[in-house]
Structure formats: C-alpha cells, structure tokens
C-alpha cells in the first residue's frame, strides 16, 4: 500500500514578500506523470518561480504543485521559429538556448525569472504590447492535465474555449504540462535605444506621439513630486550585429537578506529619483544596449525585493482606456503624495489593440501604470481602496498577478468574462486569489 507522497511544508511568499503563508507543496517531475491524488478537501495550484506579486500563486490550506523540474525543451522548428517545451522551463534558460541561434522570445515581461507556464497563466505582456500583444497571443498549442486524469491538447482551433480560459487562467484550469509558441527572429543581441526626458505627464503624452517607429517602449517617472518628470525609453533591435551571442549571467549582486524596514524612506527615494534624472541632462540620449540590460535591468540585482524589508512592498497596477488613463494616473499619484505615501517606482506602458488572448487577460487598449509602494499595512491598504474607486470610475481594471488584496467587486467589474471562465476551472484546483474574488458562487 503506497503512502501518499509527503506534502512538504514551507513558508511561501510571492515576490513582493507579502502575504507569507505556510504552504504544503508537491513537486511535479515530468510531463508524463499523472497528477498526485488529492486528499479529501485538498486543492492544487501550479507554482513555478513565484514571481507574481499576489496570492494568485498561493493556495493556503491547499497544495502547490511545483513545476521547475519540468524543465525540458521538447522540439524546435528552426525554419518556422516554433518551440515546444515543458511548462517549468524558465524564460532565462530559453534565452540561453535561443540567443546563440539568433532567436528571441515573442514578447517578454520585465524579468526572465519566470516559467513558461507562469507566463501563460498570467498572460504576461511586455514593452512591445502595442505591436505584438501579450505572451498568450503567440501560444499555438498546449497540453492541460486535468484532475480527472484527462490530458487535453488545446489550441486556438481545438478545445478553443478551454484554451482561451487557460491563457490568463491563473493556473486554475489544470496543470499546463507543455506549451508550444512562436518565436521572433533576433537580428542582433543589441538594441538601439533612445531615452527621452520629459518634464510632466502632459509632456510625456507628447513624447509618445512619436512612438510609432519603435518596437519596445516604456516610461519611468518620479512619483514623489509633481508634475512627475521622468524618462521615456524606446528601443529597436539593431540590424546585423554579431551573431552566435552567448548569454552571460547578468546578476551582478544578490541581496542576501531582508533590509531593515526603515531603509527605503520617501526622501531617500526622492533623492535617488532626482539623481537618476540628473544623470541624463540631455533631452534625448541615444545608446546601444545589450538585450539583457534593456529587457531585464532588475535581474541584475538578485532578490531586490528584500530591499523593502520584512513586510515587503505592494504594487498597484491598473490598465485604463487611452482617453481616461492620464487623468487617472495624475489623480492616483497626487492622492498618494497627499497621503504621504508616494509611489517609489512608477512604470508606464502603452497597450495596443491586440485582441486579448485569454478570458481574463489584463491588457486593454490604452495605458497601464505599475506603482510600487512599501507595505505599511493598513494605511497602504486604505490608500489602495481609494485608488480602486478612481480606477472603477475610469473604467479601468487591476492586474490579478500584482494585487494580493483586490476586492471581489473590482475583479468582477474589471473582468466581466469571469463567470464564463469559472465554468472551465478544474474542480480540484483553486488559489487564495480565486477563493477571495470568486467566493463560492461560480
């Protein structure tokens, strides 16, 4: 009589460090393995590298199915640029394989430390969303292992409903065992980058008018003082650089432990931001950057979220339609300053008109802003509650992968397809996030 596999118990936190939850977990070793038997009342949730900033990656009282051992590349069609790999493969290891062969990811989030399964389940987007859509737009096929033992191969044509639910499905529709997706040719490992200074949000809107020729764009701004000056960064892959590029590890320093909570003070961050702006006196700076430095600047600092201390940080990320977004952003940032909790890091991206790949896909045509706040507990949560009202008025929505406290009403308003989605949720799968926003009324 084989005993059930041991559930390892450890404290798991999302990347932002909050909430920390003692969690049972099991490892999935290979695609071909069956799902473990759930004990009575137990639910599963796939867990890759835990880089989301919310409880979409937590399953308190349930079990995490850890996928990083499913790390095999399965097939690569070099002529068509299509790759098939197991769901636990990280974007980092994909790049180690692709870059020397002059291929690149179809689109990439701001870190390479995520798994393919996680990129699909959160339908992540990147600096090129206005051109290329989200990661899910490039997935051609995937296999889903359901708790009833079925293996369902889905694609935009076969089992398309389940496919659309799985992309952006937050791991709730079953375990993605492998996925196949289209790649992009990389003309060289270098990007031609233009960094434009702007003095205010209005100014920034002017700058973005000239974005049409640029494939990758992103803006950083100083949220600690109005009228919010910042830098608009845009890049294109440079043509015909050296090929056969070998990827170096670009992590220069790793933060060994949590910094003391008082380290990051508003005045300190404000001074840092000023210095960052002063470092570029020119209105426009042109440079050539290695693709790793361009796409993954924060990967250079390992475990950087520990700088925020034991309580971690909270990110507030919304998407809103073009016409309302700038006003909304202005109001949100000003409210934060009035509440004496300015946003430490603000990043803006424009979102294109791509048809959403999944039922719960976050991007909508317009603009998204991600703002990092140190987690001060109730005052921060109260502040976020006030943001919620503004976002709702502007017909915006919040990003499940970034929000460990999103009220159920915000989720249901932002994602009207959630009821349709709920029909595809595997009965043995659940997450802390899902129980919070969907409750028990599917």
């Amino acid at each position: 009589m084989p005993s059930p596999p041991l559930r390892q118990i450890e404290v798991v936190r999302p990347w932002n460090g909050w909430p920390a939850v003692p969690q049972k977990s099991l490892r999935v070793w290979r695609c071909a393995d069956p799902l473990p038997q759930p004990l009575p009342g137990e639910t599963f949730l796939p867990f890759g590298l835990g880089r989301s900033l919310s409880d979409v990656c937590l399953n308190p009282d349930g079990v995490l199915l850890r996928t990083p051992a499913m790390d095999r590349l399965l097939a690569f069609d070099e002529t068509r640029g299509i790759l098939r790999c197991e769901a636990g493969v990280t974007l980092r290891s994909l790049l180690e394989f692709l870059a020397p062969r002059d291929w690149f990811l179809p689109t990439t989030p701001g870190t390479s430390q995520v798994t393919v399964g996680g990129a699909i389940a959160n339908d992540v987007h990147g600096k090129d969303h206005h051109r290329n859509g989200s990661f899910g737009c490039h997935v051609t096929r995937l296999e889903l292992l359901r708790s009833d033992g079925r293996r369902v191969e889905c694609s935009p044509d076969v089992e398309s409903d389940l496919f659309r639910a799985t992309i952006s499905g937050l791991g709730l529709t079953g375990l993605i065992t492998w996925a196949e997706f289209r790649l992009k040719r990389m003309p060289s490992p270098w990007l031609d980058v233009e960094t434009v200074r702007f003095a205010s949000l209005e100014d920034w809107r002017g700058v973005t008018q000239e974005d049409a020729a640029w494939e990758y764009t992103v803006a950083w701004l100083d949220g600690t003082r109005p009228p919010f000056p910042g830098l608009h960064i845009r890049g294109n892959f440079a043509a015909g650089g050296p090929s056969g590029h070998r990827l170096r590890c670009n992590t220069a320093v790793t933060i060994p432990c949590n910094a003391p909570g008082w380290l990051l003070q508003p005045w300190f961050v404000g001074a840092f931001n000023r210095l960052k702006l002063l470092a570029q006196p020119a209105a426009v700076k042109k440079s050539r950057q290695d693709f790793q430095n361009f796409f993954y600047p924060l990967d250079r600092l390992g475990n950087w979220s520990r700088l925020y201390g034991r309580r971690g940080y909270l990110q507030y990320q919304f998407a809103a339609p073009h016409e309302r977004a700038p006003g909304l952003l202005q109001r949100v940032l000003e409210t934060a300053i009035t509440a004496r909790q300015p946003a430490y890091l603000v990043v803006l991206k424009s979102l294109g008109p791509a048809i959403p790949a999944g039922l719960l896909s976050f991007p909508m045509p317009g603009l998204t802003a991600a703002m990092d706040f140190p987690n001060l507990g109730p005052p921060t949560l109260e502040l976020f509650g006030r943001f919620d009202e503004m976002v709702r008025d502007a017909k915006g929505r919040l990003y499940p992968a970034k929000d460990p406290r999103m009220p159920a009403a915000m989720f249901r308003d932002g994602y009207p397809a959630w009821r349709e989605f709920a029909r595809h949720v595997d009965p043995a799968f659940s997450s802390g996030f899902w129980r919070r926003v969907a409750g028990h009324t599917p």
Binding site: Q8, E10, A32
Partner: protein, 242 residues
C-alpha cells in the same frame, strides 16, 4: 571525434543533469531507461542543446537476464565507452520483504552484474571510466535507511574489488557518494538545508570525472563529515538525528 558515454537509469534527475553537462560539451550519449515517455523527453532536450547524437535504449534493471544484451546494444551504438555511468537505484522507507528484495536486486546485484559487463568491454578497449552512483547511506548505517544503506555498503565493497581487478587494464572505477538530493526518490522525506539540488550534484560529478579520485563525495565536505562519523563511537552516532 566526440567522446562517448552510456548512462543507465538516464531519467534519474542526477543522471539527467549530468547528461546535460556532457551534451553541452559535445559528448555522444546512449541513454538507457525503463520509461519510454520519460526517456523521450530527456533525450529531446539533450538533442536540442547538444551537438552530438543522443541514442535511446529501453532497459530495466530488474531484468537480470537481459543485462548482457543491453550492454551489447549500447556498445554497438557507441562502439566505445569513454564513460559508463550507472545511475539507477531504488529506495523504500520502511520496506517490506518484497521491497527489500527489490532494493537489493537493483542497487546491488544488477548494478554489479552490469558493472562487470561494462568493465570487461572497457578492459578490451583498455581505457575509460566506469562511474557508479552509490550513496553516503552506505558509509554509516541508519535506521532511516534500513536495508537501503546495506545495499549501498555492499555495492561500495564490490566496487572496491572491481577497481582492483580493472586497474591493470587502465579502466578507472569511480564510486560517487551523494548526500540527500532533491529527486523523486527522496520526495517522501522533508527537505532540509542539507538537501542538494540535482544540478549541483551533477556539477560535482562532472568535476569528479575530470580528477583522479576513486571515491568522491558530493558535495565534497561530506567526505570530512563521514570520516568523523565513521571514527566516532557507536553510542554517539546512534544518538545523532539526521
């Protein structure tokens, strides 16, 4: 010409990671495992990331009579073994009689039978390394490793004699002793800070293949730890919890 390795139990996590290091260096590989689908995924990855051919062979440590044929087919595929790695193994916590027999068969009897066969082939080519995955469990017997530790202790002793036998023919016999590694085989036990990753263990094995020791501990500090443990009085060791 690329170097050639045959790996038995190639779908084990440690063997798979070792194979990845070898494939990245351009080794030609013959992989032997019992699960077709698992082997196919392991081999697919190695083919994509490596440059030399990767062969798949199906074989089972439990099928003693088929071992000569298995060693033969591997030899026909590669023609020469620069490295033969036996990485299969079986572990049961609190084993019953059937499980004790299975561990004895796979960890000791089948492994030694195969090692003999491979040793003969390598003696004929007058060179090569025969590496066998054992365990520190054979060094100091613990109740938690009941019977498993014994199979590994027996394996270690037999490898010593095989080493003496093959040394004149220029064949090196390497005994690899990892500590606890995070693999499906140890999934029954709680992880601790001492648990190593398969990738780190494979890196240790790759280093050991290059240098000249007969017995290697992975990670290396385990050698000192187990040296002390073996010298310590029984009453003290029996009180330790690990």
């Amino acid at each position: 010409m690329s170097r050639k390795a045959v790996i038995f139990g190639a779908t084990s996590r440690i063997a798979e990671h070792t194979a990845r290091l070898l494939a990245a260096e351009g080794w030609e590989l013959a992989l032997v495992a019992r699960h077709h689908e698992a082997l196919r995924a392991v081999a697919a990855h190695l083919r994509l990331t490596g440059s030399a051919p990767v062969h798949e062979l199906h074989g089972n440590a439990d099928d003693m009579d088929a071992l000569p044929r298995l060693a033969d087919s591997a030899h026909q595929l590669l023609d020469r073994f620069d490295l033969a790695l036996i990485a299969w193994g079986s572990f049961y916590p609190n084993p019953d009689a059937r499980q004790i027999r299975e561990m004895e068969r796979i960890n000791h009897t089948a492994t030694m039978a195969l090692a003999e066969l491979l040793g003969e082939a390598m003696a004929q080519q007058r060179g090569g390394t025969l590496a066998v995955l054992s365990s520190v469990a054979g060094d100091v017997l613990r109740p938690a490793n009941f019977s498993y530790g014994n199979t590994k202790a027996a394996l270690n002793t037999d490898l010593r004699t095989l080493r003496l036998k093959l040394a004149p023919c220029g064949v090196r016999v390497l005994t690899i002793k990892p500590g606890r590694v995070e693999t499906p085989m140890t999934a029954f036990a709680p992880r601790s800070f001492l648990t190593a990753t398969p990738a780190a263990t494979a890196a240790g094995i790759r280093r050991a293949l290059r240098d000249r020791r007969d017995v290697v501990y992975v990670p290396g500090w385990l050698r000192a730890a187990f040296f002390v443990l073996r010298l310590s009085p029984k009453w003290l060791v029996n009180r330790l919890r690990f």
